[in-house]
């Protein structure tokens, strides 16, 4: 955190070095299902950052004594590739990597319904292929998408983005140079569904006003990011739907293939599953799935 003003990070018109406005995110692209062997995976490209997240689990935990009797353990492994930064990063796990792994796993544990899978572990591997500032926030964003892709029940997704301070001004989503030359950094993990903060760290010196400004633009940025996460998760399924359903049903009155009307008897087969109505809070497993044996 130099903050010495030796580099001009924002020009008179409020445009930053990479051409963004102060409250603008870097271009984000999220793809799911990039790793076939994993139970769920996601790749995020945020500006120059490239991070791959892979989720395995819930699965058996070894050594067994670390297992929790009442819920699943969330283990996160954040790793920066040696080639991800311009100076070769030592392949040995650093103090920084361990810290980031811990804060990300704690943030994820706040939204995952861990009590559904007692005595198991959910492993999240985060590999940074290319780093350009804000990798911990981008990793958390990718991790929550990968968890949803793995079918792990959650209260909601976490969208994560950092805000920072440049010349006393709150700025959204710092990249590497701004991170180093700016005077403050505030990574935020935010769950828009719960309106809860699941990760908040701070580096540098902020006044109360600056902190509030930074937090507000970070929350706003996280909400934008959430929409991108949601599209990434849905796209795979809506694409398949659009591909197979549209040409087959020229008669349907509704042009949209995504939401066929319930009244149309041709379109909606009667539910395969006959379900007894659970009265309690705890949803009973449906006895519906028919078994087939020769």
């Amino acid at each position: 955190m130099a903050g010495d003003g030796s580099v001009k990070l924002i020009d008179e018109k409020g445009i930053r070095l990479d051409g963004r406005k102060v409250d603008e995110l870097r271009p984000v692209n999220i793809k799911i299902g990039v790793i076939k062997n994993a139970d769920g995976s996601a790749e995020i490209r945020m500006g120059k950052n490239i991070i791959v997240a892979a989720v395995y689990g819930p699965r058996e935990l070894h050594p067994k004594h670390r297992a929790l009797a009442d819920r699943a353990l969330i283990q996160c492994f954040y790793r920066m590739s040696t080639f991800s930064v311009s100076d070769r990063k030592s392949p040995a796990p650093s103090r920084r990597e361990k810290e980031i792994s811990l804060v990300i796993s704690n943030a994820l544990a706040s939204v995952i319904l861990t009590e559904k899978y007692p005595r198991t572990t959910i492993d999240v591997y985060l590999q940074v292929l290319q780093a350009d500032g804000g990798t911990r926030t981008a990793s958390l964003t990718a991790a929550s998408v990968a968890l949803a892709d793995a079918g792990i029940p959650m209260k909601g997704l976490i969208a994560s983005v950092a805000a920072g301070l440049i010349n006393g001004q709150a700025v959204l989503d710092l990249f590497d140079i701004e991170d180093q030359k700016g005077s403050g950094d505030l990574p935020l993990g935010y769950c828009p569904v719960l309106d809860e903060i699941s990760l908040l760290q701070l580096d540098g010196v902020f006044t109360v006003k600056q902190f509030e400004d930074s937090l507000n633009i970070a929350i706003k940025g996280a909400k934008d990011l959430y929409e991108i996460q949601r599209d990434a998760l849905k796209q795979k399924y809506t694409d398949i739907r659009a591909e197979v359903e549209v040409p087959e049903k020229p008669k349907v009155e509704k042009p949209k293939a995504e939401e066929p009307k319930t009244e149309d008897p041709k379109v909606v087969p009667k539910p395969v599953l006959k379900v007894e109505k659970p009265k309690t809070e705890d949803p009973k497993p449906s006895k519906d799935d028919k078994k087939e044996v020769e």
């Binding site: 139970d39 699965r59 319904l113 892709d149 909601g156 399924y237 087959e248 109505k277 659970p278 497993p285």
Partner: protein
């Protein structure tokens, strides 16, 4: 008064608001402050007085009574450890393996099921605190010989079977194969000809990929009969 917000058959993601007010709900849903939210990526199903979200992916969670296909991964003196593709390993005790009484002094567990055997088995018990226990001493259960084993998402098994078994019976008839579906997503296919088996596998793979779409049975029928001409 209850009000359903999401559209029937919509793809939902964790945290999507589905409904408000008192309503019966099933899997894939969490209730918070009288509102119902999805907890998984899945297909929303609104049946009037009942809502649920069918997950599109996820690990198989054992349920007592389920028929599953497993692989023997460890043989003990009087028990086997079976991989059933769930987060918990399953145990088949020798007492529950055969109809005959098992005598550990004279009988060899390896003669019944050996390492790597594929077995059709039933979950006898499972709860949060204990690993699942299996049985194979009922009719039709036991070792599967020959055939091919494929694996799909466990949540798509009901789709492969179809309403009252329509889908699976159609595939069996058209491809002239024997098919056994395990609730854990493992499917055993056996046919007289390799082409038949491959055809059936191709159909099942297509079902898995398009499990969340409508009119699937017709498309599968078209696909199989098209190739046979």
């Amino acid at each position: 008064m209850s009000k359903v917000i999401a559209k029937n058959h919509a793809i939902v993601i964790p945290g999507d608001l589905l409904a408000e007010g008192p309503i019966n709900y099933g899997e894939g849903i969490v209730k918070r402050n009288g509102e119902y939210y999805s907890s998984v990526v899945g297909l929303f199903q609104d049946k009037g007085d009942f809502i649920q979200v069918k997950a599109l992916r996820g690990k198989y969670i054992p349920r007592p009574g389920d028929l599953v296909i497993g692989k023997v991964i460890e043989v003990g003196l009087t028990s086997w450890i079976v991989d059933i593709g769930s987060p918990y390993i399953a145990i088949l005790s020798a007492n529950n393996a055969t109809e005959k009484r098992f005598d550990p002094i004279n009988d060899d567990a390896r003669k019944i099921f050996s390492l790597g055997d594929i077995i059709l088995t039933k979950i006898a018990s499972f709860d949060r605190t204990r690993d699942p226990l299996l049985i194979t001493n009922e009719r039709g259960l036991g070792k599967l010989r020959g055939g091919r084993l494929i694996e799909i998402e466990a949540s798509h098994i009901p789709r492969v079977i179809g309403k009252k078994g329509t889908m699976i019976n159609m595939i069996k008839r058209l491809t002239r194969t024997q098919i056994i579906t395990g609730q854990n997503g493992k499917i055993w296919v056996n046919g007289k000809k390799i082409e038949d088996e491959l055809k059936a596998i191709q159909a099942i793979t297509k079902i898995e990929l398009e499990a969340h779409t409508q009119g699937l049975t017709d498309r599968i029928r078209d696909m199989i009969s098209e190739d046979q001409q």
